[in-house]
Symmetry: C2
Subunit: 132 residues, 2 copies
């Protein structure tokens, strides 16, 4: 938590871009948004993303190859979250309650597995889009 506060310049820039956007962004979308701030190569984005993900301030959506700012300012239990992704409106809801961590703990126990990273993603249609 002490380390979470100090972001490098590039990390700050990337996190700000993700924070302004409501939906997920690919690394290359982020790069394009930051060309005005001097970014020129994908690696600048990927390096910042790696750090931010390590801090729990950004999550990677595996099924989209995209990234999104943590909706909790920073996940305490890093990696224990589920993402509900609407394919119509691109809205992503992050769910981090006990049911998620209990399910994952149960699954790990049942398979005698030590999980270091987890990914739960649901793709479909959100309530708002379904009604519209």
């Amino acid at each position: 938590m002490s380390e979470n506060c100090k972001l490098s310049n590039n990390e700050r820039l990337v996190l700000d871009v993700l924070g302004r956007e409501t939906g997920p962004m690919s690394a290359y979308m982020i790069l394009d948004k930051l060309r005005g701030s001097g970014f020129r190569a994908p690696l600048q984005v990927y390096r910042a993303l790696e750090k931010l993900i390590g801090m729990g301030r950004v999550h990677r959506l595996e099924s989209l190859n995209a990234f999104i700012a943590c909706s909790h300012m920073s996940c305490e239990k890093i990696g224990v979250a589920a993402f509900v992704i609407c394919e119509r409106c691109e809205h992503v809801q992050e769910v981090c309650d006990d049911s998620v961590s209990l399910f994952l703990a149960g699954l790990a126990e049942k398979t005698n597995f030590k999980a270091s990273k987890t990914s739960i993603e649901l793709r479909g249609v959100c309530d708002a889009c379904e009604k519209a």
Copy 2:
């Protein structure tokens, strides 16, 4: 289920390659295995994979950009499976029990979401590797 039996030539070839391998394979690994059978382009693999996934006979591992044959000969409830992936030995265990479908159903209900596709993946170290 009636459609599941009739595979096209290319689908058969791709499924056989995946069936012979114990671990996950990328599309390009599959392509290389099938050059001897006349495959020349990635699209031949991707098209077959798309169909096989639709039939539930192959699963895509989002966190690996790789594919694996269904360990059940064909998942009845397509897409409702969890994958436990060892990063040391590459072994993948497919879990399809009620706890998985109940968890997903609960999550969907809680978020008023209609899920059409789901992905649950745990990355870490399996029991065998941990002991070794």
